[in-house]
Amino acid sequence: MSKKTLIPIGPYHPLQEEPELFKLYCDGEIVKDIKWETGYNHRGIEKLSESKTYEQVFFLVERICGICSNSHPFAFANAVEEIAEIDLTNRAKYIRSIIGELERIHSHLLWVGLAGHFLGYNTVFMWAWKYREPVLDLFEMISGNRNSYAMFKVGGVRRDIEETKIPVIQKILDDVKKKTDLLTGAIMDDPVIHARTKGVGILTKQDIIDYGAVGPTARASGVAIDVRKDDPYAAYPLVNWKVITAETGDVFAKAEVRLLEMYESISIIEQCLKGLKKEKPGEISVKVKEIPEGIGNGRAEAPRGEVFHFVQSDGSNSPARHKIRAPSYVNIATFKKSCIGQTISDATISLAAVDPCYCCTERMAVAYDLKSGDKLMNANELINESVKRTNELKKTIKSKL
């Protein structure tokens, strides 16, 4: 029996944005076993939810994750509306799907960037995150927030998408589509990315079924499950789109599935915008009197896979029991299959390939003078300043040469 070296990644590691501990047991370069420790981020949300009213729970579950902050309210709304047997207006359905798909685009772009970062390919990281920005700006325009949009409530949505905003959304979408073409082309044809991701971190169909993995992780291994198709909710049955799958189950297949899914998302949003024009403005929610006794199983397809919420109501104004299962809960467990037998450098990208949920809530700030209240600098001025300084730096370097 050979000796094994323990290589810890985390709990506070520069590569991980959230605290978690991976223990890699290695023989030389090869990972022989992996253990995962969590709980550093446990906030007791299920218990907390029992002390909030149904309206408040939306804001609570939105804060489970900063990236897919919309998918938890989506699943929760589906669960509660199942208990109370509420039918939404078409306009609310379209708006919900638009928000859900915009989120998928920005989340997948974020993952592509992070994957590039994990591979040491920072150009991809810079590109993907740059192209993600306009999507967040869209969110700010629609909901007032770049993250944690607070758009959902029982029986509908909180804000309407006005007619005047539709051309602006369409224009940004066209732009995102062009950039996605660029990014997809660059990644699919890049020999470095092929060398680093093909045949790495393979999950077979049987692994997916055994671990109950969901979302792009499952679809990249040829298991075509997608809640939007299987158990349709919101406006997904009203529009045309297809489930993207790949067969090989390696990291490349997961990247491929995510990149191609973005096109489907763009197409869904475009169809929803068209549908929105036919509906009467302002009809975004229905009146809800009370939530009767009963249980509801709500699910929604988050960018990472199926989010599941189980709600038990005792007829009062807050849930008696609220169980939440995020997709990473089942996807992270597949590390035992995907990492063992890999080299340490490949293990990191295999870990990242399921897109474990990372929070991203940092945003551009505008600085104000505390005393006078004057704006010191806004985003554009900061960018201009940065460009100016880069040019100055270039000049000095040139003069020295």
């Binding site: 109950g212 499950i225 699910r299 599941f308 035992k336």
Partner: protein, 145 residues
């Protein structure tokens, strides 16, 4: 496959173990079974009918401890809740983790937060609070303040 057909076959096979059936609609069904038969029922759903284990929810109610095992039949869009009611004082049930890995973590979590024992679990360690939580204190039980 038709939801009704699946349920008919299920009822036929586990006639003596079914205590109650609630059919909310074609996509949501709750079947209460005898806890002793959980391993056979889960094995039948997973191996023969191709159900996917989503997650399990434990509840602490007046009846005692309850578990809803959520199974999904993806091509029918069906969520089947297999519901069991466990003993008030000594909640224990057979583990499903030897059948599929998907239930490994959630059973550890339920053991940790509710104090339900999962018999023959391969590794019933704490999942979330290893080393920083008192033994025998279960935060999701109703008496916990």
């Amino acid at each position: 496959m038709d939801t009704e057909l699946i349920i008919e076959k299920f009822k036929e096979k586990f006639k003596s173990d079914i205590l109650d059936t609630v059919i909310k609609n074609q996509r949501r069904i709750i079947i209460t079974i005898n806890p002793d038969s959980i391993l056979y029922v889960a094995g039948y759903l997973y191996r023969t009918e191709g159900f996917r284990f989503i997650i399990a929810t434990a509840l602490h109610t007046k009846k005692g401890f309850e578990i809803h095992y959520h199974f999904s039949k993806d091509d029918a869009g069906l969520i089947l809740n297999i519901h069991v009611i466990l003993d008030k004082d000594n909640p224990r049930i057979e583990s499903l983790s030897n059948l599929f890995n998907a239930s490994n973590w959630i059973e550890r979590e339920m053991h940790e937060l509710f104090g339900i024992d999962f018999l023959n679990h391969p590794n019933q360690e704490k999942l979330l609070s290893e080393g920083n939580w008192a033994e025998g204190v279960y935060p999701l039980r109703k008496e916990f303040k």
